[in-house]
Symmetry: C4
Subunit: 204 residues, 4 copies
């Protein structure tokens, strides 16, 4: 088609491959922030422990994003220019996770780093939601994606709310904020179907 | 064919996969230049802000290159030896983006680092143009790629001119040079079709 | 199917691509722990030698995991949600290999780092075994995977036992513990078929 | 086949994807060795120049290996266990290129680092030759690969000889050794067909 010739018709497979590459690098360079102690005693590992814990949390978060990203693309048939840029926007905020993780871990979960970590999670969640909206707009309201998301979007809606609560809380009690981050991760980790069935039962 | 047996007939898919890998790593290691502050206060983030801004600009630039690279390959059918090396040449200048970004960011957008950043952008743009010419030469003047590029090459021609203006300007006003870099990124970010339609209307 | 619409049906190819990406990054960033000496004499390489040796061992281990991972997926047809998370769990412990390798190498194979290295190998082996169990559960007891694994699982069972022996031994004799790690790597490196034939002959 | 069930039958595509990933990471982390100067003047770039030059050389070398690796696999149909391990062996020596490059560049092409750089090139060339032999053994003497390599193996045979000459020369004249490294890269960069035709003409 002449009219579309200049429009970006990104093949889905290459956008998947690129996103996989970026997410794989993000999840792996997280570990570069674990600074090797120069002492050889087991005690030398003590300062690494909080960094390690923040590493575990971030690894799970990036894993969840990769998982969800795959599901969204699985139900997607058209990759348009706005979808591509919404995807890069999501990858941008995810690429900052190693930075916020390291700042939080090295400062033993202090207030400001814990809040910034939440800000990055919040912006990633918003970016994911935007990618979802742009994709639905391109796929159409009756598409498979639209139907699938409608059914389980309570997680996608609840997560940013919880992050927005946790961020100011971090200045009052960092531990509480981190518990909320961990809770959100847990919500996503629990298999969808069981929760959905529970929700369905609750709705009946 | 016997005559071609020794000539490089690179399959397009593997060249795509390799380029995706390199660009994915470039875009992700950019963040490694964001040095984690050792203090836990919000104020400790202040020196990171200019590095972060240069990071945002470079992330967008690498995203644009990935996008354009995909479109060019999308319309390509033959990958010859010269195409491969022109591709590696482009990846070479792109791989220097994390270095020039960090130098510019860490020196708060000083003159020389801002100019060097522009030099790398200019050489990347020239390398992209060379890849385009080599690919057109291999595809033929009547090919889909040749037609598609002919129509929207005003961006490809304008960008190096703007970089070449910005580089000496950086020594007089770094802010002006950076504004030009941001302007070029914006030109590429705005969806092609609308601009093209505007151009068409203007031409009518 | 309506009932499955919300369940994760990960396509095998994307899980492979993501795992390949993560393992490729792990195996390559291992070398980042080889700190470049600032002196230009050959003698300056001396402190790098133990780090290099631990690098060789870890490179082989990650290579073995990639190899085995490929074989497991080769015989797999369904990728379910639990398989995905068991896979991420394996990648998590593997992603710590650059950290434990560097700590062991920089401290010239001291006791505690050698023990920690073994702990990571042990947890990786357990994670691999869990991935295998989850995959078999999803594929069914009569599947190709189940049959293939049953025949050569003696390696998978012996390895964690040897790691568990080596870890406490490291505090008594680090060299002995490292010899056990090297022995396990050797067991996996020797081509399967010959050993299996030997085992078969022994069984007859 | 029952007899082969336990033997490693690596699919070619996944070995390609993994090798692409590793080589893409190697070629990109090379740039991490370019340390960002802390001064903002153009003069501050002066100490970076030799590191940059060694970076250019290594980028070209890794590009050549990726190119040749692709051609070899292009003509390969079976990927056996020995092929896999010969491939990992090649990736091992290539993964050390960022280390040897940085040591050579940071010491302004001093004798020992220049020699070590050549040792890594030599071992990579030998590893490539081994991979080639193992692949030919698996493909058979009448295979496409065997025929294709036979015709242009003079480069593969000449390169290690030149490296072996350059390594001891480095202690007498580093510049001479580096010129030989550059010459070998040039030999590979010049398109095969023209050289081959020249060789053919010479043979006639």
């Amino acid at each position: 088609m002449v009219a579309d010739a200049g429009a970006p018709r990104m093949t889905k497979s290459r956008m998947e491959a690129f996103s996989d590459g970026v997410i794989a690098v993000i999840i792996t360079i997280l570990v570069l922030e674990l600074k090797v102690p120069h002492d050889e005693s087991i005690e030398a590992l003590a300062p690494v422990v909080p960094v390690f814990l923040s590493y575990v949390l971030s690894f799970i978060y990036v894993g969840i994003y990769w998982n969800n990203h795959h599901h969204m693309l699985h139900a997607t048939h058209r990759v348009t220019g706005p979808v591509l840029w919404a995807n890069l926007h999501l990858l941008f905020w995810l690429s900052l996770v190693p930075f916020t993780t390291a700042w939080m871990g090295e400062n033993h979960f202090a207030a400001a780093p814990t809040a910034l970590y939440g800000v990055d999670l919040l912006l990633s969640a918003i970016a994911y939601w935007m990618l979802q909206q742009v994709t639905i707009a391109s796929e159409g309201p009756d598409s498979l994606l639209s139907t699938a998301i409608g059914r389980r979007d309570w997680k996608g809606k609840l997560s940013p709310v919880l992050y927005a609560i946790a961020i100011p809380l971090a200045f009052w009690s960092p531990v509480l904020a981190q518990s909320i981050y961990a809770l959100v991760a847990l919500i996503w980790l629990v298999p969808d179907r069981r929760i959905e069935n529970a929700v369905k039962v609750g709705e009946t």
